[in-house]
Amino acid sequence: MTIKTPSLDRRSFLSGTATLGAGAMLAGSGLTDFARAWAQSAPFKPEANASIQLLRWKRFIQAEEDGFMALVDAFSKATGVKVNVINESLDDVQPKASVAANTNQGPDMFWGLYSLPHLFPAKCTDVSDVCNYLGKKYGGWAPTAETYGKSQGKWIALPVAYNANVINYRQSMIEKAGFKSIPKDTAGFLEMMKALKAKSVPGGFALGRASGDGNAWVHWVLWSHGGNTVDKADKVVINSPETAKALEYAKALSDTFVPGTASWNDAFNNKAFLAGEVSVTNNGVSIYAAAKAGADKDPKMKEIRDDMNHSTWPVGPVGRPTEFHIAYPMLIMKYSKAPNACKAFMTFMMEAENYNKWLESAVAYLSHPLKAYDANPVWTSDPKLGVAKTAAWDTLTAGGQGSVGERAASALADFVVLDMFASVCTGRETVQGAMAVADRQLKRIYR
């Protein structure tokens, strides 16, 4: 067993052959015993002497990665398949996958964001057998998981998990502004944000090109006001009175933000929230996890842990929830020389004996796409985490009403919606001007 730890380099990679710590954990967990038994009757038999490489998004919660690497190690021990796991920051997964798809070289599997597989569906191995097996065994897939995983009736990716993007807030700060909880409607939410700026600590949402947090909140605003990029037939409908209302609402909301949100990426709001500079932001539950992890050593972290909470998004004029949670699909490249080993790994990872433990280790940062995992103890262990339980069922998908194909992936990758909101919120464009720019871009993408 070799030990490799991430270096200081951003592109550090961690050898998949797990750590000694994970190995020690395994010895006591019985994971290896299950893995060996599983390997005997596995639905997918890896190729002889197979060795696979997986490129995944770099973890936000250490315990999640430890849990994942324990699972990887158990798989390797039981099947003899070597698994190398490379970690890349969230925004770097897509370019690497795109280049690999174009050159037919690189890692066997990619684990990325949203509709990544739909950027190059022809390059993805059909994993219908894996997904049908898992769906049947574990109570069925969330409808959005099928949307993200399927292309032209075939599963092109395994929807491994979701990351619930919810409102993170400080109870004491919203109380100081005269609110007991996060208002349930967008009008009330704007009033609260105004009050926070006037009487307490302001809130803030990312307006920089933040793939996760930035996209999540602007799509919520757009959809909650009835705006859409395209209709059900993928016809571009962004230039509409509903979008205009959404932009006006976002502008009013952004006027209450702390300064600098136009430059925020996915990490800025975490830092600002943990520094006590922001009262309300949108994020996964990883800020809470960081506060919990630091609570024993740092009284400030303890204060944040005890004071903060999560909430679902307020409902807008459309009268129904319009949340946008991050999906994490995993795909196998067609050029992989060990597709069966990859399929075996995917199946092994999602089996209850592994997935449940891993889900617990992720402390609600990850939400499940299979119904059977509703029963996981993580959803009842801490009331502050329950909000993330049904992320896969609550979220709308990339492209909104339209298809979640290559074009929706392209629009998301181009930050069409995010840039439209950012240009209005920063005063660079008028509402009409911003809609016209987005309309032109979308018409090109959906032509």
Binding site: R10, V99, N102, R209, A262, N265, F268, E277, D414, R428
Partner: protein, 318 residues
């Protein structure tokens, strides 16, 4: 046996054969020269000409990632030229390149002249000046990222501690602040290259010219204007050509610091090309944006060479 004493007749020499074409080629200087040039030419063709040609070809196709495209003529260019984001990126790139290059040249020349004088710890100071250039761009960009952080900026913190400000400076969240901030980071990084290269040029200026000028009663400005500057012109032409090219095609600094934000205010043509081709998957369009950079780059090179190098004495004439 008198015959035995006679020397044997010398063995008949083989007739001199006609030189073959191969022999002629082996000794032909032009032919040999061609072969000596082949490795360099192959290198240039493989790593420069081919990618450039491929890029230009892709810009006329609708290639997407993972899918070969078809020839679509100049459609990508038509689209890109009418795109507000592209127009903004062209403006940003020209503004960024012009301001940063002028600032780098001015500061670099000043530093070079300063370092050319006898200073205590001269070698150490020269080494220190090089530090920004040695640090990998991504690392210096991350350092600036913290310096310009909306919440934790050391500059904001210092100004607040000194009582000069009550709020943080919105370095990267405001369009113009962000533009000036990235220019500052680029200048900080680019000055050493110019300073050290110009310093090398300054050291080739014969001291006798300054001595003669001093005897003629020239002022320091006159010495700079009529001796230093003209003799430095060839180096300035080369160094500024490189500097303009590097600045025009800057990518890392912008990618790490702002990723083109806020709302596209610092998007450069290079970052836009990458975002379109690699993140958005539209390789044809991304290639068109890259190719659109070529005329600007050629223009910059022309100005440098024909503008700054037109002096006859530099071309070997009297």
């Amino acid at each position: 046996m008198t015959d035995a004493a006679l020397p044997r007749s010398a063995p008949t020499r083989a007739p001199i054969r006609e030189a073959t074409a191969w022999d002629r080629l082996k000794t032909n200087r032009n032919w040999l020269g061609f072969w000596f040039m082949v490795p360099a030419a192959a290198f240039l063709i493989l790593f420069l000409a081919y990618p450039l040609g491929l890029g230009i070809w892709l810009s006329f196709t609708d290639t997407r990632i993972g899918r070969p495209g078809e020839f679509i003529g100049i459609e990508n260019y038509e689209w890109v030229l009418g795109d507000r984001k592209f127009q903004d990126a062209v403006f940003n790139t020209l503004f960024y390149t012009t301001i940063a290059s002028i600032a780098k040249f001015a500061i670099g020349l000043y530093l070079a002249i300063l370092l050319n004088h006898h200073l205590p710890f001269k070698a150490m100071i020269r080494a220190i000046v090089l530090i920004p250039f040695i640090v990998p761009t991504v690392l210096s960009a991350i350092a600036f990222w913290w310096i310009f952080d909306p919440t934790f900026s050391i500059i904001s913190w210092t100004l607040k501690e000194m009582g000069w400000r009550t709020t943080n400076i919105n370095f990267l969240g405001d369009a113009w602040n962000a533009r000036w901030s990235v220019i500052f980071a680029n200048v900080w990084r680019g000055v050493p290259f110019i300073a050290i290269t110009l310093l090398a040029g300054l050291q080739t200026v014969p001291p006798s010219l300054y001595e003669a000028a001093t005897l003629d009663g020239a002022t320091r400005w006159q010495m700079f204007r009529h001796i230093t500057y003209p003799l430095l012109t060839p180096i300035i032409a080369v160094v500024m050509t490189f500097s303009v090219l590097f600045t025009f095609t800057d990518f890392q600094l912008i990618k790490v610091l702002t990723n083109g934000g806020p709302a596209g205010a610092t998007e450069l043509m290079a970052t836009m090309s990458y975002n379109t081709a690699i993140l958005g998957g539209k390789i044809g369009e991304g290639a068109a944006i890259s190719t659109a950079m070529i005329p600007f780059l050629l223009g910059a090179i022309m100005i440098s060479w024909f503008g700054l190098q037109r002096r006859k004495w530099q071309q070997g004439e009297d």
